[in-house]
Symmetry: C2
Subunit: 117 residues, 2 copies
């Protein structure tokens, strides 16, 4: 995130398989919330998603990746090793594109009108 | 854009001034279309926007940047020097974050399930 006089560049990294969007900031936040809360329903609640929506997202991730990212049991849900690895790799990707935006975005940010707030 | 076994990372760079989104891929494409066609209405048509929507986007850009990006006259519309500079700076920003995604996205792409198509 680049800041110059109140302006900033936000970058969104989206993974596609063919034409299908398979991963992005929303699913990353869902994985992080499951890791934190230990359940899909608690994770859904903290993110303001319905349980059904969160479950469908988990189900899609588990099929789109080579190994399931979330392991579910009657006692709750946890990230698999693959889930932890995918979340960490996505956060690294986000950091890398954000760093690149910090470097490359300054020129454009400097062209914005000054703002009174 | 990074490609590994049918997967790719797409990156979207969005400029904010405070909480307001002031520039992104849609406005960049509109500037490019105005530059190509010489009019807001022709540019709107090529992008599938209403004239009103395109005009509002141009008006917002002209106020959000330090200098107007689009000059309008009875004969049509052209990019100002600032408009050309902003479009070029945004394309450079896009290229930089895309290059970063190519480098940093491989690890995550390699974790996707193989696809039959």
């Amino acid at each position: 995130m680049s800041v110059t006089g109140g302006g900033r560049v936000a970058v969104k990294a989206l993974l596609f398989a063919g034409e299908t969007r398979v991963f992005g900031p929303g699913k990353a936040d869902l994985l992080a919330a499951i890791d934190r809360t230990g359940s899909i329903s608690a994770a859904a609640r903290t993110l303001g998603l319905s349980y059904r929506r969160a479950w469908l997202l988990v189900d899609a991730m588990n099929r789109d990746f080579g190994e399931p990212l979330v392991a579910t049991a009657s006692t709750g849900a946890t990230l698999s090793d693959a889930g932890r690895a995918a979340l960490a790799a996505y956060r690294r990707l986000e950091a890398a594109v954000s760093d690149a935006a910090d470097v490359a975005g300054g020129e454009l940010l400097a062209m914005l009108a000054p703002r009174s707030t």
